[in-house]
């Protein structure tokens, strides 16, 4: 199946989860990454069970914050 990851279309096996995609894409410091699928944010606790489907668009965003 084809999934768009950070703007690039890629081929993956069926049954791919968000957690597995993070691993396959070698996402650095994944504990600080927010994931959106089709512009909806996925709760980090759901990564293991969230299955991706043909045509999904996935983005990885680093949380951006700080303080004085």
């Amino acid at each position: 199946m084809k999934i768009t990851v950070a703007g690039t279309k890629k081929e993956f096996d069926e049954g791919l989860t968000v957690a597995k995609l993070i691993e396959l894409e070698n996402v650095e410091t994944p504990q600080y990454v927010t994931v959106s699928v089709n512009e909806e944010f996925v709760d980090s606790g759901a990564f293991e069970g969230y299955e991706l489907h043909e045509g999904d668009e996935v983005e990885f965003l680093y949380f951006m914050g700080g303080g004085r």
Binding site: G7, E28, T29, Y32, T34, S36, E39, F41, E59, L61, Y62, F63, M64, G65, G66, G67, R68
Partner: protein, 144 residues
């Protein structure tokens, strides 16, 4: 690392930061990187969802929209910026702890001295509890 920003973008950032006071203002920077020089081509003025003068968190929906805009315009994400309404232009311990992307440039605009904004850029790396920041060479380019 050397990083450049246009005077007009600096002015927009400064005006937005003044409007957002007493809260910290924040946003993203995008542009191109060539021969070890980062050239900021676009500054995004985004919402600090913390709405305080002590913290900032960039609105994730605006963050996502900005990343898509960068891609549509052929720009690379270069990092982020935020204001320090009352403190100097240097990363706080919290800034360093939350600087999770070692490839990013982190710009801090200090408004501590009225009428004299100070903008610096920093590279931050290392494990979360022992991050080290290093000042980058920031050049403000006068618009043609």
């Amino acid at each position: 690392m050397k990083i450049t920003i246009k005077r007009s973008d600096f002015d927009r950032m400064y005006e937005y930061a003044l409007e957002q006071r007493p809260d910290e203002a924040c946003g993203l920077i995008a542009g191109v990187e060539e021969d070890g020089v980062r050239r900021i081509e676009k500054v995004y003025l985004l919402t600090n969802i913390d709405h305080t003068n002590e913290h900032f968190s960039i609105d994730p929906r605006e963050h996502l929209a900005s990343v898509k805009d960068m891609r549509a315009n052929g720009l690379q994400p270069l990092g982020n910026w935020h204001s320090h309404p009352e403190t100097p232009s240097r990363p706080s311990e919290e800034d360093k702890r939350l600087a999770n992307d070692s490839n990013a440039s982190y710009l801090i605009l200090s408004l501590a001295e009225e009428g004299h904004p100070v903008l610096n850029s920093f590279h931050v790396e290392g494990p979360a509890e022992a991050r080290v920041s290093e000042k980058e060479e920031l050049i403000i380019l006068e618009d043609a």
